[in-house]
């Protein structure tokens, strides 16, 4: 692949360089910065990296750069190999820090210090550096060195308790969420610290806990306990509000949709749905129901009686009929979309959401989720595909002032 071709068109973070030592805990964080224009240099140890030993793989064939996790979250980055276990590798890293603005790492707490690459050392070399550590539980505390993983972090944060049927175990997301939550929250933290640096000239150290990232995503669970000593419980396809739980996931003719009976200040959304039922000659059972009563007045029996004719109505309709009606009649309903549905979604197409990324080595282009937000001044783009390990060695080490002979020697010594 010709390097630099697309690297010239960069976004708002174009003046800044990021050294990225993360495994999958930080992939998404540096991807966000890269797609906002930063020059992200992904640094991988030579040889095997356990974090990309994870499948599934492109076309099912094992290979480091064929890991879909690697492909999904490492676009727009350059990649070098560098052995930080060797003093020579550490020295090269320290050189890179001098011309960089951000360092992101996700090693177990203490490991960067052991390599002589802790914040104390790096900030001596470059006082403006913003160094970020993304770890399961943060840099200190009794769980600091606990063995982790998405299942465990989701469990300990209260997040898993919120999902699943009451007669079975609580459930985690089948697609890992703690790493993407940590990635986006860490990117937010980094840009807050960056704002301060641009005004004050001071860098700093950021300690991100994935456990806390997930603990923040639990809506009423914590306030309910903090203020009322009330346990907010999972309820399968239903969801509690005040004393009663309403059905949220409904089977329809060709899948599932999400909809609920709103009362109180949101009852007009329920009434809009009843109008739609009436327009098809159904819903007479619900004529005269006062949906405006407050949530506190709704009993379980009452809401389940209301839901019965609605459940029958849903089963007679397809997802797309219900979705079109929601827009027309003004009620709040969404289909339970699969990835296939998302790729086919008209709204996303109308907004040019999907981005085609070329993989010349595979001879294909792959559709990627696009910008997390649109802006009047262009700030976001996927500049190129996920790199091969060490793909940019020559380019970046030459930028550092190393000669081709130096590079060859470093390779012989297993430094790169």
């Amino acid at each position: 692949m010709e390097e630099n071709v697309k690297l010239t068109q960069r976004g708002v973070l174009q003046p800044y360089r990021v050294l990225d030592l993360t495994d999958n805990k930080g992939y998404f964080c540096s991807k966000i910065l890269a797609e906002l224009g930063a020059d992200v240099i992904k640094i991988e140890p030579p040889g095997v990296n356990l974090s990309i030993e994870k499948g599934p793989y492109y076309h099912g064939k094992y290979g480091l750069e064929r890991s879909l996790l690697w492909m999904a979250f490492n676009t727009s980055k350059r990649c070098i190999s560098l052995n930080l276990g060797l003093t020579q590798g550490q020295e090269i890293f320290r050189q890179l820090v001098k011309t960089s603005h951000f360092v992101i790492e996700s090693l177990p707490p203490g490991h960067m210090d052991d390599k002589g690459l802790g914040y104390n050392v790096l900030s001596e070399l470059n006082p403006q550096i913003i160094m970020t550590s993304i770890t399961p539980f943060g840099q200190s505390g009794p769980y600091r060195d606990y063995n982790d993983g998405d299942l465990v972090v989701s469990a300990l944060s209260g997040f898993s308790y919120l999902s699943g049927d009451q007669d079975r175990a609580p459930l985690r997301f089948s697609v890992e969420q703690s790493s993407v939550q940590a990635g986006s929250q860490a990117a937010m933290a980094i840009l807050i610290a960056h704002h301060y640096r641009q005004l004050s000239g001071e860098g700093q150290y950021i300690d991100v806990s994935m456990h806390e990232c997930m603990a923040l995503c639990t809506w009423v669970q914590k306030p309910e306990w903090a203020y009322l000593k009330n346990m907010y419980r999972r309820q399968g396809v239903r969801q509690f509000r005040s004393h009663a739980s309403a059905r949220v996931i409904w089977p329809c003719r060709d899948g599932y949709v999400a909809w609920r009976i709103w009362t109180g200040g949101e009852s007009h959304f329920t009434e809009a749905f009843i109008n739609y039922m009436n327009s098809e000659g159904m819903g007479q059972e619900l004529a005269g129901v006062k949906f405006g009563i407050s949530y506190d007045e709704v009993t379980q029996e009452l809401i389940e009686n209301w839901e019965r004719p609605i459940g029958e109505f849903m089963l007679r309709h397809t997802k797309s009929e219900l979705v079109d009606a929601a827009l027309k009649w003004g009620f709040t309903l969404y289909p339970v979309n699969t990835p296939e549905d998302l790729l086919d979604n008209n709204q996303l197409k109308a907004r040019d959401y999907w981005v085609e990324v070329e993989y010349p080595d595979f001879g294909v282009s792959v559709s990627y989720p696009g910008a997390p937000f649109k802006s009047t001044a262009p700030m976001w783009q996927i500049s190129h595909n996920a790199p091969l390990i060490g793909e940019h060695n020559k380019e970046i080490y030459t930028e550092l002032g190393l000669s081709l002979e130096n590079i060859a020697e470093l390779m012989r010594n297993n430094v790169i």
Partner: protein
């Protein structure tokens, strides 16, 4: 000094996603002025019955308090001319204007981006709606409760033998805020570089879909349709949540290598079934996973979840109890150590808990201050921030600007 000191945020947002974003900015030092309608306050003040101390009241909602720390609060009747003048001066004061209404709402109040730009040419405006400001479905009303299904999340939570269950919260509301803050910060950077403001059109659905990137790529590149798999993983085994003694008590256990499996067996006291060859390797265990999960539960079910976790972690095995609200707030020693929950004092609610963030900034730490009462800072904002004279404020008040 705090990181965002000097950043001025005019906040029209309500419910969860918008207020969470402006809470982060306020907690890290920005001056946030939250505007509520006189007839249309933030619904979390009244709609969810999470009353502090169980006593209802406009200024006693625990949910409002939780998601609206570190903000000033004012009320404006946006149909009133003198209220519009206050709004105009607030826009002129602000760096960033935030809202999360259904598209069209801000335009009806004369507060769309083009109008704001006429007041303050370099203003940054962030709109975070369900599906964005353009396209055939822009005006579809909704809440995160449903949108999480539309964004693809609900599909990935459930048991293989039952339909999807999704989450009992609105998950997209806990994705969009981080990108609202990211958008705000890079817009400030862009303004430093160019002197220009800008408009951010954030679709909560579009911001959320990248959270499913690996599953989406598996479909796009491989044609593979991933589905909800309970608590299991295609890579590891065992990987599940096991019942322990007590009501609704569970422990999650994940074994990532054969070495960890042997450590797990030794913690269980090398029970005869555990050292059976049909569980020796990952492949063996995967082939017998249903049976294995049942056997593991026969070991956990008589024990306290905390004990299972601590004994396994002591041998390097990944395990964690399924924490509920009580566990997180009152028992979890890690959250306590990190000061994840902290106390603030409020004139009506008194001392109550609030939540900090997921990260520690070494030089510019977080400072969570209490949430505002409805319209509490009308006078303060007008006289101290907009520099109105007392006479001017009283005239504005008499004209009904604040309801």
């Amino acid at each position: 000094m705090q990181a965002l000191e000097g950043v001025k945020v005019l906040d029209f947002s309500w419910i969860v996603a918008g207020p969470t974003a402006t809470k982060v900015m306020g907690d890290y030092g920005a001056t946030v002025i939250k505007v509520e309608g006189t007839t249309r306050h933030d619904v979390t003040r009244t709609a969810y019955s999470v009353w502090v101390g169980g006593i209802p009241g406009m200024n006693r909602s625990g949910l409002f308090a939780w998601y609206n720390s570190s903000k000033y609060g004012i009320t404006l009747n946006l149909n009133n001319p003198s209220s519009k003048e206050v709004a105009r001066r607030l826009v002129d004061w602000s760096d960033i204007v935030v809202e999360n209404f259904t598209p069209g709402t801000m335009t009806r109040w004369g507060l769309d981006y083009n109008s704001l730009k006429r007041i303050k040419p370099d203003v940054i405006m962030i709109s975070a709606s369900m599906e964005g400001q353009t396209g055939p479905r822009a005006t579809q009303p909704g809440f995160g409760t449903m949108l999480q299904a539309g964004a693809g999340f609900t599909n990935f939570i459930g048991w293989p033998d039952r339909g999807p269950v999704g989450l009992s919260i609105m998950y997209t509301d806990f994705v969009a805020p981080w990108f609202m803050v990211i958008a705000a910060m890079v817009s400030l950077e862009h303004r430093r570089q160019s002197g220009e403001g800008q408009y951010i059109d954030l679709s909560q659905m579009e911001a959320s879909i990248p959270f499913l990137s690996s599953a989406i790529l598996n479909y796009v590149a491989n044609g593979q349709i991933e589905t909800a798999s309970g608590n299991r993983s295609s890579e590891y085994c065992p990987h599940g949540v096991y019942r322990c003694c007590g009501e609704d008590r569970w422990c999650a256990i994940a074994i990532y290598s054969d070495e960890e499996w042997r450590a797990f067996c030794s913690v269980m006291g090398d029970l005869p079934w555990a050292i059976d060859p049909r569980f020796f390797t990952l492949q063996n265990r995967k082939e017998n996973e249903d049976e294995l999960d049942k056997l593991i539960e026969t070991w956990t079910v008589g024990q306290e979840a905390e004990g299972v976790m601590h004994r396994l972690q002591a041998k390097g095995v990944a395990a964690g109890i399924i924490e509920n609200g009580n566990d997180c707030l009152e028992a979890d020693p890690q959250l306590k150590h990190r000061h994840h929950f902290l106390e603030v004092d409020h004139p009506e609610m008194g001392a109550h808990l609030s939540e900090s963030s997921s990260f520690i900034l070494s030089k510019t730490p977080i400072n969570v201050r209490r949430s505002p009462c409805l319209g509490e800072h009308n006078e303060f904002v007008c006289t101290q921030i907009l520099n109105m004279s007392d006479e001017e404020f009283i005239k504005t008040l008499a004209e009904g600007a604040f309801g």
